[in-house]
Amino acid sequence: MDHSEVQELLLAYANGDLYRPQREFTEAHLANCADCRADLAEYTWVRSQVTSLRDAPITSDIKEATMSTIQATGTVTSPRQGLMRPVLVAAAVVAAIIVPLVLQLSGAGPGAPLAEAYEVIKGLQSYRMSGSTSVTANGETSEGAFEWGFAAPDRYHGRLTTGAEIQSFIIIGSEQYVRDSRADQMSGSVVVITDDASSPIPSREGTLQLLDSLVDVKRLPDEKLDGADSFHYRGRVDIDRMVDEQAASLDPKSTEYQEGLEALVVQRSIKIDVELWIDKGDYSLRQMRRDVTSPTTVSDADGTRQVGSITASALVRYHGFDEPVEIKRPLTSSGDLEDGWHLVGSGPPAPTIVTSERD
């Protein structure tokens, strides 16, 4: 262990965090190194200074305001929402356009090959997706291409290319890491992969929900994909059922109840047509095409009204089933984010509280 290595240990030494061999070696080095003694004195000083902030008086009482917000709205609204979180706001805007519904699907599953495909997807440990997207709004069309990998239970990584812009994503649970080829575009670089069936590139859960939500399913002539015979189906997502369920979940006592109902009226005009190709041999989902036509709305004092529409299409190929996929956080060996990556996304999942940890 040399001088530089001891320097690395000095803070831990000041904190009393070293095991005995390291502590003894550090002390032996300190006896003969004035520089390290000076650094140690500095660490000790910083520690005492910053630790003193524990005693700074905190008189805030946010309990009443917090509980009022929770109890008054039922579906809660952040007090600073829209003011301080450009990244999250951008996500909300994108979601509002492309993912207009919060889908909470239930009910009977699809029949025969669709039900088989549902079970196959549910049991996969990993798979890959690749394909293309096309979004048209206000007369302008934006084309994109994507490649995604999934590893159970909740890891995704991939790349979305739109024109000259390339966005890379790593999603681990609620953590979303984003790297944008145009650094100045960071505030708008939010990946939208959701558990909603209407997401253009749905998560596994979203894919399952989509299969579970299809109505008016028609079987089309079988087709060959990559040499394999495939069932070919066309159907549509049961929007009315989703809207009804969404309306039933609103709290009539909420101050936002009427506004929520008005927003749902507009959403009934959403149309999602789906085509599926399912391998006749193993019932794996080989390909999916989705065409979404959705209203764009504005909400103001006069309520929510439609101001236009947006169409989004996605053709997704599924492959690499259960092949090894390693999806890791983009961190250096020292634990820092690798160059160009940003951590966005919502908070972590809630805990299962089994033990009590007290201050």
Partner: protein
């Protein structure tokens, strides 16, 4: 407070029970967010966000983290969205020091001025380092707990605290006029 019991009551529909969690943890969470933002009003707003997010999630998801660690993790994510512009921070710092010095020096100990200088120096340590310093030095969390909260290795936490400490010293000297 029996956290497991309180959470079971919340999940059972007794929303008021969540108030016990807010009451128990509001001081450390506000204190932590104050260290991260340097502004008590913002810290209180972000703390409210933190508890509201916790309430929403507590009903539907699970995690292996303890409640305390989980709240700090949400708070850390919320604090990450807040970045006070450096120039504003400098003005704020100078004004605050003048304000505290000018109005309180005669009747209060130097510790008030010094604490203000410490707070202002800490808030200007780079964010990732400040997270680890605040959680370790002020909130008293161990490196292992911090590593879980910020999703990095314990070694990375240790290095961030070390680097942050050096940065703190430099900033403190610059803002307080202390000479080497």
């Amino acid at each position: 407070m029996d956290e497991a019991q309180v959470i079971a009551r919340v999940r059972g529909g007794t929303t008021e029970a969540f108030g016990e969690i807010v009451e128990h943890y509001q001081t450390p969470i506000v204190r932590y967010l104050l260290r991260m933002t340097g502004d008590v009003n913002v810290a209180e707003d972000l703390a409210q966000d933190t508890f509201i997010q916790a309430y929403k999630s507590i009903l539907k998801t699970t995690s292996e983290l303890s409640l305390k660690a989980w709240l700090y993790k949400i708070a850390t994510n919320n604090a990450r969205q807040f970045h006070r512009p450096a120039a504003a921070a400098l003005v704020h710092s100078a004004d605050r020091l003048r304000e505290v010095s000018g109005t309180e020096t005669e009747n209060s100990p130097n510790s008030v001025v010094e604490r203000t200088a410490i707070e202002e120096a800490l808030v200007r340590v780079p964010h990732e380092q400040r997270v680890c310093m605040a959680l370790h030095f002020v909130e008293g969390l161990k490196y292992r707990e911090i590593a879980d909260i910020v999703s990095v290795s314990e070694e990375a936490v240790r290095k961030r605290v070390a680097r942050g400490s050096k940065e703190f010293r430099t900033v403190y000297r610059a803002t307080s006029g202390e000479e080497d």
